[in-house]
Symmetry: C2
Subunit: 230 residues, 2 copies
């Protein structure tokens, strides 16, 4: 999985430590996160674990769930002996000033799906900025300007969309191919879609699912479906 696409899907809040950098590992926090409330397993151990362990990052793998397309990472940590402890600024590893960071911001775009986007009745409203900076150049001399857009998802599968610039006032839309994508990926209003143009000029598409909240057996998005009073 392309790290650029992975980061675009994960969002700007997610930063990954580079290989050979040093991080603190929090066993209890990990245990609580892994199986909520099951941290007793570790506490019951004969030798109590320290609250934090200084480790060296020896490997990072960028992965995506085959079912949901949700991205995650596997990070390999090796604990350091107390004598190896030495403080180094993370910036030495380019954590903050990653040059890929600025480039990524320029060539990726995320949009939260509206009801109209997710309704099976129609297409996808492409924000102008996304169409002009991420999508392939459209020939505006045609009337209406139309092109076929190919985008690769996190699994390498290619999706085909009809990209048209029409309506009054003019706007960019994805029509044919869009509803298939929505249905296959089981997207609903509130989920986000990410478009990314790699340095090779290749277009990629990722998704970022909204947190679901169960409503009496039905799955729905908090805030949606709630009639506004007043």
């Amino acid at each position: 999985l392309d790290p650029q696409l992975w980061h675009a899907c994960a969002g700007g809040m997610v930063q990954m430590p580079p290989v050979r950098s040093r991080v603190y590992y929090f066993p209890q926090g990990h245990a609580e996160h892994a199986h909520a409330g099951g941290a007793a397993d570790l506490a019951a151990g004969a030798r109590p674990l320290p609250p934090l362990v200084l480790c060296s990052v020896t490997g990072v793998r960028f992965l995506a769930d085959p079912e949901t397309d949700e991205v995650f990472a596997k990070i390999r940590l090796v604990p350091l002996a107390p004598g190896e402890v030495e403080f180094r600024e993370p910036d030495e590893f380019g954590l903050g000033g990653d040059p890929a960071d600025a480039r990524e911001k320029l060539s990726s775009f995320a949009k939260t799906l509206t009801q109209s986007d997710a309704n099976n009745g129609g297409g996808f409203s492409v924000p102008r900025y996304c169409a002009e900076t991420i999508f392939p150049k459209l020939d505006y001399r045609a009337d209406p300007p139309v092109q076929t857009v190919l985008a690769k998802d996190v699994h390498g599968e290619v999706w085909k969309f009809r990209h048209i610039y029409r309506g009054t006032p003019r706007r960019h839309l994805l029509t044919t191919g869009w509803s298939t994508f929505v249905n296959q990926k089981k997207l609903i209003a509130g989920d986000s879609i990410v478009f990314l143009r790699t340095e090779h000029g290749e277009l990629c598409v990722g998704i970022r699912r909204a947190k679901r909240v169960s409503c009496g057996g039905m799955e729905c998005m908090s805030g949606w479906n709630a009639p506004g009073y007043g």
Copy 2:
């Protein structure tokens, strides 16, 4: 799962030993059937198993696959000590002369789906015998005679069908509700459907899938899809 429905789905060739009856267990045959060709596991054991073991049936559970509706059974066997060996006719347990057998034959009906039945373009041609002996009585004074038929599947789920008697010449058909059933159960031409009327007068429906044969990646039924020359 109702044993009557189970037997109707399994077909007349399948007979189950009753509880407390005695049967021979063939370990090698079981192993070969369980994982084809993997019988070496048993042969490699320190103590070679006897070719057949006389057992007592201590339990039989009639089950159905939640995905495919295909029926199977779990039979609990307890090996008998050599001293316990005594010959008894299986008929003493009612294996052959099961009174439920004759009743079942009267009130269940199986039909192999034709292309027209499985095509999503239409309904299901109900053989007259099935309609008249299994289905609820139709009021022939109406024109055309129509009723709603409810049938419970092996999971207890209820399916609703529109049963109509129409056309020239007249015939029984299931229309509305049929294609939903076909799609949900993923039925294709060659599969069979079983209708059963229980002693309580309740209508049940089961399926019996045809053996699939793979045709270059496509799944199809042997004999179907083959154009007839001459």
